[in-house]
Homo-oligomer: 153 residues x 2
Amino acid sequence: MAETANFDLAATGEPDGATLHRLGEEECLRLIAPGGVGRVAFGGADGPVILPVNYRVVDGAIVFRTRAGGVMDRDLRTGVRNVDIKIAFEVDEIDPVREEGWSVLVQGPFHQVTADEVRWTADVPVRPWAGGDRDLYVRVTPTRVTGRRVGPA
Amino acid sequence: MAETANFDLAATGEPDGATLHRLGEEECLRLIAPGGVGRVAFGGADGPVILPVNYRVVDGAIVFRTRAGGVMDRDLRTGVRNVDIKIAFEVDEIDPVREEGWSVLVQGPFHQVTADEVRWTADVPVRPWAGGDRDLYVRVTPTRVTGRRVGPA
């Protein structure tokens, strides 16, 4: 059986090594600033869920869209009632050939963008590839931003 | 402000549309079978965590490695005590230029591979890119496999 490289960035608690580097918050924010595709994790009826979403960074917050009534909406409504619920948002860039890459993890509370924030969201046009009505804007306010890079020292 | 496409696959509860397609379990398993880089989500001290890991599929289970004593280890030990704790494991392939791609979500309980399973893990060599001791094998037993694809009908 051929050996497979393991992009194991899980051990955030370990010190920097020859190939695993912790990223500072400033560099993390720089890496995710351009927006693009990230992955959001939240609690669901069948356990945790990870889903890719296109995101943008607006005023330091992660913004993405989803569909009202969808699986995330239900969870978001719970989040509205309980502001302590946090989600994870992750962006990475991985080069399997060179066996290097980076991963940034944003943690923080999330909530629907409310009616009085519509003007704010109007500056964040998003065109869902998946089509359909995805008129629910979600904002994640980062309370913790961490990152790690794997590659040459 | 330039418009950004939104790879919004979040609405798993909606019916198939012109561009959003649900994938059957068989196709999901076929897509993730080759192994590679996936992302695991689990509960952490500071809220949910998403981290990329390299994985393999062995006997229908997701297998990856992490470091004993790392952030995931702590959570895994909790999982060992409480077998009901589930995690999410996601694999995707996204083409931002063509605005299409797929995402497979595996949900299920996870646990450390124990001593009596060492022989089993010996068939799953993994070489961590990040280096260091990552002698903790983790297995996720899928109880729910779902997938979605965005692209032309």
